[in-house]
């Protein structure tokens, strides 16, 4: 019995101009095989033009338990959104 091969998360760029999007995961012993398996598993119907594979163990995730505290600082910074600002009538190109 061999050691279980590591888990990889797969990100696919669907078309030029779009960012890579998480599509799923798979097992593979190394990055090269992970990439080849990802091609066979997630792009059988031309779903992508580029693939990233990332060892799942290398991902640090925020925990849902601390979601409120973690994302709260963004909630009181409405001025980050353009809709915060009042634009005087008649101003163009703004």
């Amino acid at each position: 019995m061999t050691d279980p091969s590591p888990l990889w998360e797969v990100f696919v760029r669907a078309r030029r101009g779009l960012s890579h999007t998480h599509v799923g995961s798979l097992h593979a012993p190394d990055a090269e095989l992970a990439l080849r398996n990802a091609r066979d598993l997630y792009t059988r119907r031309q779903e992508g033009v580029s693939i990233w594979v990332v060892p799942a163990s290398a991902i640090t995730a925020s925990s849902p338990d601390e979601k409120d505290a973690f994302f709260d600082p963004a909630a009181d910074k409405v001025y980050r959104h353009p809709t915060f600002y009042e634009v005087p009538d008649g101003v163009a190109h703004l």
Binding site: R15, G24, P29, D40, S63
Partner: protein
């Protein structure tokens, strides 16, 4: 999530079941966009938060708190589904080398490869619930988890490949389309992807039967024989009747399951009648007739004793299917070992280079 994946324009606006998959996908995005509090207020609030998310038709995600029984039910169901995809490669794989033309062979190869892919999406979804791939494979190989009873029936003729595509994949789609709305996010997303691919499977099966049933009398007889043998086992795929189904009520409350076994079976029969007419084949049920009052077809129920016998191991091919799977797994051991050894060697070389 996978909305950009499929290029064919006629598929994007597809009606019927494909339309329902699209609708489920849109509902998933819509539910995700709805504003709601982001996390449980305290540890005492976990169950309340879970219930609220399910009630709001939003998705439970892997790191969320969930009732232990919900986790166990999902692992059992997703694993069984994954095993079915993997074992399901065998009855069709049986005909790859004997497909009647190069075109049919290429299509069948692609379809069987899809089944492997579906198994892998589902294993990955099950793994997010905290069980490992190796454990899942072991549970299948030592018979402690089941797969769909339908794959314990033999594929005796080429027409059976058509019947599997039309009826078995058709029943699977009817079963699976509602699962695109399942409350567990990774399962719902895997099902959306799978359902889109399954529709090619169903159409290719239907096309095989259509070609045969419009061919020579012998070919038509072969198609009819396949329908005769696969009809009732396909009806049995929806599981025991509602009164006897053990897991249904709780699964409905958790929105893992959205319709009862009998509702889905009825939907399947209602779809198939007209499709069989166009094939010019006869569904082997003398009591099949339109019921105007119910606005649905009356039909003969499958033999549920037979279903139970096949599930418990006594179908025509149970032993063969499991023996084949164990053999394939054992035969692949050297490949897995070699790939692991190669990866370890490469990693060690890279370390040396860095050190130097």
């Amino acid at each position: 999530m996978y909305g950009n994946d499929f290029g064919a324009p006629e598929e994007a606006s597809g009606g019927g079941l494909l339309g329902e998959v699209e609708a489920a996908e849109a509902a998933l995005r819509e539910a995700a966009a709805r504003q709601r509090r982001g996390a449980p207020a305290s540890d005492d609030d976990l169950a309340g938060f879970f219930a609220e998310v399910v009630e709001a038709d939003q998705k439970i995600e892997p790191r969320d708190w969930m009732p232990e029984a919900y986790r166990k039910t999902l692992i059992r169901q997703i694993a069984q589904h994954a095993h079915s995809e993997i074992i399901g490669m065998q009855p069709e794989g049986n005909w790859i080398s004997r497909a009647p033309s190069l075109k049919r062979k290429a299509i069948l190869l692609a379809k069987v490869q899809d089944e492997a892919g579906h198994g892998l999406y589902l294993y990955a979804a099950a793994e997010t619930l905290g069980i490992s791939r190796d454990e899942l494979v072991d549970l299948l190989l030592n018979g402690r988890q089941k797969y769909s009873s339908i794959f314990n029936y033999p594929t005796l003729t080429w027409a059976d490949v058509g019947a599997i595509g039309w009826l078995v994949d058709g029943a699977a789609i009817v079963n699976q389309v509602p699962l695109c709305r399942c409350s567990y996010g990774p399962y719902a997303r895997a099902m959306i992807r799978i359902c889109k691919e399954e529709s090619f499977h169903q159409r290719q099966g239907y096309e095989i039967l259509h070609t045969l049933s419009h061919g020579t009398p012998e070919q038509k007889a072969m198609a009819q024989d396949a329908l005769d043998r696969w009809w009732y086992p396909s009806l049995a795929m929806f599981g025991p009747p509602d009164g006897e189904s053990t897991h249904s009520t709780q699964s409905m409350a958790w929105k893992i399951k959205r319709f009862s076994n009998d509702e889905l079976r009825q939907r399947f029969v209602d779809m198939c009648v007209q499709q069989a007419e166009i094939l010019g084949l006869t569904i082997p049920d003398p009591d099949l007739r339109w019921n105007d009052e119910r606005q649905a077809y009356d039909f003969t129920q499958p033999d549920y004793d037979e279903l139970m016998r096949v599930i418990s191991g006594d179908g025509p091919c149970n032993r063969q299917r499991m023996a084949h799977r164990r053999q394939a797994h054992a035969d692949g051991a050297w490949v897995r070992e070699a790939a692991t050894a190669y990866a370890a060697k490469r990693a060690a070389e890279n370390k040396e280079k860095v050190a130097a």
